[in-house]
């Protein structure tokens, strides 16, 4: 068993806006590109041009349909990656200490040198956020781009995770969720950000912002006055036109 820190100085994480995510997979591929080239072993792909291509991804987007009791069905795009839980079961289950949570910022990482590829952490994670790399035989997971966010070789504005930097719709936000005054904490407060599967007791750091209510237009009876006819007959319409033109 590996211990979690009793306290982390910061809680760096993502806030993902499900009202804005269009499901484009930009974050998926930017993550794949950065993390193939950077932290640890590359994210490999097996049978990349074959019948069953299967690669390692640290972030995937799923789409779910919701069919309300009344009204039209809806589609929600749901990006999924490590939530950097405060009570991360993937860490405590690790037999070698390879999985750990950083005291400085709460990021959950895998020390690939110590990872024996047993896969227990992936079984323990209720979110399915870890993937075993088939080529390297080590466990891969979201690092919050730890080699970007502190990287002095990058301009300050680029020191954020690749998925956040690339998100075209601006649906992904990065910051310190331990600081109640941070932009991400304020966003969570304003939009009713929620924990994914709180019943698991993992206390995820990442938060999701819920989709806003949809298909409300037909409820707007108050709009009726905006379509009051100006006249009931063609002659009446012409009269209205003439009077209206006189006013300009």
């Amino acid at each position: 068993m590996t211990q979690l820190p009793a306290h982390t100085d910061r809680k760096l994480g993502l806030v993902i806006d499900l009202d804005t995510c269009v499901g484009c997979h930009a974050c998926v591929i930017a993550c794949k590109g950065w993390n193939t080239e950077n932290y640890g072993t590359p994210l490999s792909d097996q049978d990349p041009y074959g019948a069953e291509p299967s690669g390692t991804f640290l972030n995937r987007v799923h789409s779910f349909e919701i069919t309300p009791e009344t009204g039209a069905a809806q589609l929600v795009h749901f990006p999924r990656s490590c939530l950097h839980c405060e009570d991360a079961p993937c860490v405590t289950v690790c037999p070698t200490g390879a999985s750990y949570k950083r005291v400085e910022d709460g990021i959950v990482l895998v020390n690939e040198a110590d990872c024996i590829g047993c896969g227990l952490c992936a079984w323990a994670c209720p979110y399915g956020a870890r993937e075993m790399d088939a080529a390297a035989g080590v466990m891969k997971k979201c690092t919050l781009c730890i080699d970007r966010i502190y990287n002095e070789n990058l301009p300050q504005e680029d020191r954020e995770p690749a998925c956040v930097r690339t998100c075209p719709a601006g649906a992904r936000h990065f910051g310190d969720l331990a600081d109640p005054d941070s932009d991400v904490s304020l966003l969570v407060a304003a939009r009713g950000g929620f924990d994914l599967m709180p019943e698991q007791g993992t206390k995820p750091v990442n938060k999701y912002l819920p989709p806003r209510p949809k298909d409300r237009l037909e409820e707007t009876d108050i709009l009726a006055p905006f379509l009051e006819p100006v006249a009931e007959t063609p002659q009446g319409f012409l009269g209205w036109l003439d009077r209206a033109l006189d006013r300009f």
Binding site: D19, T20, V22, G23, C24, A26, V28, I29, A30, K32, G33, T36, E37, T41, P42, D45, Q46, D47, P48, Y49, G50, P53, G55, S63, E65, A73, Q74, L75, P95, Y100, A135, A136, Y150, N151, N153, L154, R165, T166, P168, A169, G170, R212, K214, D215, R216, L217, E218, T220, L223, A224, F226, L227, E228, P229, P234, F237, L238, D242, L245, F248
Partner: protein
């Protein structure tokens, strides 16, 4: 266990160098930062300074790294050795390849230039390719717009002097309500997503009108799951509601549109339906102050919309009176259209009311004085913050032109075009239809064409017909069948060439167009046409095919000579103001590509090859006076070519490097672009930011930049007079007469006011036998056969089930993993299906062009794209089913010729799973080796 946290290097080196160029993973032309390590591409991200994407990048863009190492990249010029379609080739040298091409083409130019048909697909160098084709002298040139979105382009340009996407955009900063009609997941990719993010961020509302609630429609606040092909009817019903309530922008209509222009109202007059004009040809309006007709642009005029004017026994009514008569009709009441559109009447009314409320009760003002073309100074800019965007969903129907026009009509009635919060043009637009060329199509041996191929006919006299009325172009563009086919009809080229109608050709020269697969209607039949032989000669009916592509696409197997192109990171390009630049509403902008890496194969950028061929063929403009090649390569052309004195492909750093727009060629221009991040922007002054078609400050700015040589103010065309000219001809007036069998259709469809009619296929078939509409959508993370089947992206979109709506799913007892037989009037396919609830109940759909042919794209023949993937193309025909009138009617829009892909009707039956999706095609021999079994791409392991 004891903690042994490793010491991490938190500041690893990111790259040796960043090279900034332009993406080409789709058509949107975002700026990219290409990180290189040891000379290899290590990572690609968005360029933060770039006007298009402002730093962000979509999945396709980030996956570019898998494109430049794709196994499907062609490696050397190829000459066909086996039968066409076998995929059997031998590698040859460039010298052999170029000489072969010259040997084929030079005799054609000398004797019959029209025997060469040169069509380019998703070409971003149309300014060059059209110039080349013009110099060659063949009338047979166009790009792919005819099967893409020419309805949007032509409706936009003819109605308001510019179209969506490349020529304009919503005012993302100010709009409060955005309507998206028929927009799937692209066009334009990142800007729409950035814009939606901005709208969401400030609580503005988005309404999606689309049969499928995916992508942008999934995040829309309201979804109107409209029945395909009925958007025009919905829009005209909104027009009805707004007009009836007087919720239209009368001052805008009076000042900036042809609503006040007087129209001849005498049915017996030869000029019936045409404008009353002065001796100089200017349309006349009634001045409300003097009650006298005056030219529309007369200083001080107050144009009237209400009163008629009688002259010489003929009553002339303003356009506004005509449109009021038509759209106030109860035929357009929501209750009348609801069932057809699949939208309940109260929702239509609610949408109209919301448009009215936002446009007029949430109007915005910018305290910015400006002066209009009549010399009147306005003290502010008033905005109607309703923006609209549309794409192929409304466009790819046989009523798509009039539907797109109806949409612009709605925008204009609300006063939302070129006003704050609405739709804004991007330079070089706005540009009136009359400022575009007319088509040129008369071939002369050994001579260039007299002018550009593509343009805007103003009437029957401008059609591309010879003295006998025979079409001059192989695709029959600019004929009575489709007079305003301003992008040509690429989808008809192979069928017409095969049929010898209007004539046979010798050489078909294609660039970046997968006509043997997903870019053709009825793929199987096109394959037969490409391989069919003439019994008299034993030769192929289309004797020679030259093809240029960077990748081993399906089309490669059907060509005789392959000129392998580079990938987008290995080439020069210019995204030019002469063509389709990257301008934004606030600034003109153009951009380049440059070789950020060198090819590791014997390939050449197609544009450089074309320039080389031009010189070898001795084409005017491609050789110097002493017959030497005028340009070393495309880079040299980009820098030194002048289309008009001082005007070249790139606007920036001209002359000594300080001039923008006009100026002498600057040999350092490309270096300056590279140093500037691959693009150049030229801001529009504040005073000129809105009302551009009528704004003196904008017009003067555009002239100074070289967009045009004199101010070009104009009125928006609510009444589209050129259509009326064709309609008049169909009524029997004038020397240019259509064939009799087309008269009724021209009369019915070329209406000068927008109208809706039933899609032709619906009218031609028993819709009860084919009760469903079948559509495709382009996924956000994949761009059909633009590039290769990318190793990362195919893990996102490797499958394309046919999505079925709930009722159909339940009625036939489908369950997950089932297959269905899908039958149209033209063919049958058998494909995997899946359930989708957020779908119009009479619509089925799938992702576009995921299906691949075995042997193409260096994929394993067992790849899901080749075994489970499929195309709807097999169900579509370029012609409608026979009507029994002796004619075969095109499955195209009757105004523009746009391929009516989305008119497709089908029926569905559950079936036992076949071994593979049907129809199956035999594998083609791959001209490139198979890809690796595993990837772990890291430049510095």
């Amino acid at each position: 266990m004891a903690q042994r946290h490793p010491t991490l290097d938190l500041s690893p080196k990111v790259s040796d160098e960043i090279r900034k160029t332009t993406c080409y993973m789709c058509a949107c032309r975002c700026g990219i930062d290409v990180h290189l390590k040891d000379g290899r591409v290590a990572y690609i991200e968005g360029n933060r300074d770039h006007p298009v994407n402002k730093g962000v990048l979509c999945a396709k863009g980030s996956a570019g790294i898998m494109q430049v190492n794709a196994p499907s990249r062609l490696r050397a010029p190829l000459r066909r050795t086996g039968p066409r379609g076998s995929g059997q080739f031998e590698e040859i040298t460039w010298e052999e390849a170029l000489q072969t091409a010259v040997d084929w083409m030079a005799p054609l130019r000398a004797e019959a230039p029209e025997k060469l048909a040169f069509f380019t697909g998703r070409d971003q160098s149309q300014s060059l390719t059209s110039y080349w084709a013009q110099a060659f002298g063949t009338p047979n040139y166009a790009a792919h717009g005819g099967f893409c979105s020419v309805n949007m382009a032509v409706a936009g340009i003819t109605t308001m002097g510019g179209a969506f996407w490349e020529f304009g955009q919503p005012d993302w900063e100010r709009t409060k309500l955005l309507l998206l009609f028929g927009v799937a997941e692209d066009h334009d990719s990142n800007p729409i997503k950035i814009g939606l993010g901005k709208l969401k961020g400030r609580g503005a509302r988005v309404i999606g009108i689309n049969p499928v609630r995916s992508g942008y429609n999934a995040v829309a606040d309201d979804w109107f799951g409209i029945t395909p092909g009925t958007d025009g009817l919905l829009i005209l019903s909104l027009v009805h509601c707004l007009l009836k309530a007087g919720r239209i922008d009368l001052p805008y209509l009076a000042q900036f549109t042809n609503a006040p222009v007087l129209v001849n109202g005498d049915p017996d007059s030869p000029d019936h339906g045409l404008f009353l004009r002065d001796a100089a040809g200017k349309p006349l309006v009634l001045d409300r102050k003097t009650h006298q007709p005056v030219p529309f642009d007369a200083p001080g005029v107050t144009p009237d919309l209400a009163h008629t004017y009688r002259r010489a026994g003929i009553t002339h009514r303003p356009v506004f009176r005509h449109l009021a008569d038509r759209y106030l009709s109860p035929d357009y009441a929501p209750e009348q259209v609801a069932a057809k559109c699949g939208i309940p009447a109260p929702r239509i009314r609610a949408l109209a009311a919301e448009l009215a409320r936002v446009a007029f009760d949430e109007a915005i003002e910018i305290a910015q004085p400006w002066t209009d073309f009549r010399g009147r100074t306005h003290d502010k800019m008033t905005g109607r913050p309703v923006a609209m965007h549309a794409m192929r969903g409304i466009s790819a129907h046989s009523n798509g032109f009039q539907t797109a026009r109806a949409l612009h009509f709605l925008q204009i009635l609300l006063g939302t075009v070129e006003t704050p919060g609405g739709f804004r043009f991007k330079p070089p637009y706005p540009k009136p239809m009359e400022a575009h060329p007319k088509p040129h199509a008369k071939p002369t041996p050994d001579q260039p064409l007299a002018g550009p191929h593509l343009g805007f006919p103003q009437g029957p006299e401008d059609l591309a017909l010879d003295a006998n009325g025979t079409p001059q172009r192989i695709d029959k563009a600019f004929t009575w069948e489709n007079p305003l086919s301003a992008h040509g009809l690429m989808h008809m080229v192979i069928a017409n060439a095969h049929a010898g109608d209007p004539y046979r050709i010798d050489t078909l020269f294609l660039y970046m167009a997968n006509m043997a697969w997903n870019s053709s209607m009825s793929t199987g039949r096109v394959i037969e046409m490409l391989t069919d032989t003439d019994p008299d000669t034993g030769d192929y009916v289309i004797p020679r095919i030259i093809y240029s592509d960077a990748y081993s696409s399906e089309m490669v197997a059907y060509a005789d000579l392959i000129l392998p192109d580079t990938t987008y990171l290995e080439r020069h390009d210019c995204i030019s103001l002469l063509d389709r630049p990257i301008s934004e509403a606030e600034a003109a902008a153009d951009a380049i590509r440059w070789p950020v890496i060198q090819p590791d194969r014997d390939v050449r950028g197609f544009q450089s090859v074309l320039i080389d061929l031009g010189a070898r063929l001795n084409l005017p403009g491609f050789v110097t006076e002493d017959g030497q090649p005028k340009y070393a390569d495309y880079a040299d052309y980009i820098t030194t070519h002048q289309r008009r004195p001082g005007i070249g492909p790139l606007m920036g750093f001209r002359g000594e490097g300080q001039s923008t727009g006009r100026g002498d060629p600057n040999p350092d221009q490309l270096d300056r672009y590279i140093a500037a991040g691959g693009f150049h922007t030229h801001p529009i002054p504040e005073e000129a930011q809105f009302y551009k078609p009528w704004n003196r400050a904008y017009q003067d700015w555009a002239v100074a930049l070289g967009l045009y040589d004199s101010p070009q103010p104009y009125l928006f065309n609510l009444w589209l007079e050129p259509l009326r000219r064709f309609q008049r001809a169909a009524e029997g007036h004038g020397p240019h007469q259509p064939p009799d069998h087309l008269r009724d259709r021209i009369r019915a469809t070329m209406d000068p006011l927008p109208l809706w009619y039933e899609p032709f296929e619906d009218a031609a078939i028993d819709t009860e036998a084919y009760p469903l509409h079948a559509l495709t959508q382009r996924p956000m993370a994949m761009y059909h056969s633009w590039g290769t089947q990318n190793a990362w992206l195919r893990q996102v979109h490797g499958e394309n089930p046919l999505y079925l709506p709930t009722d159909l799913w339940q009625e036939q007892g489908f369950t997950e993993g089932d297959w269905a037989r899908v039958t149209s009037p033209h063919g049958t396919i058998t494909v995997p299906v899946a359930h989708m609830a957020a779908l119009n109940p009479s619509t089925v759909w799938t992702w576009n062009a995921i299906g691949k042919r075995k042997g193409a794209w260096a994929l394993d023949p067992k790849a899901s794209e080749a075994t489970r993937g499929f195309l709807l193309n097999h169900l579509i025909h370029e012609l409608l089913p026979p009507k029994g009138d002796g004619h075969r009617w095109a499955n195209s829009d009757p105004v523009t010729g746009q391929a009516a892909w989305f008119d497709l009707r089908v029926r569905i039956e559950k079936t036992a799973p076949p071994k593979e999706a049907q129809p199956g095609f035999p594998a083609i021999t791959s001209p490139v080796p198979k890809g690796p079994d595993a990837l772990a791409w890291k430049t510095t392991p």
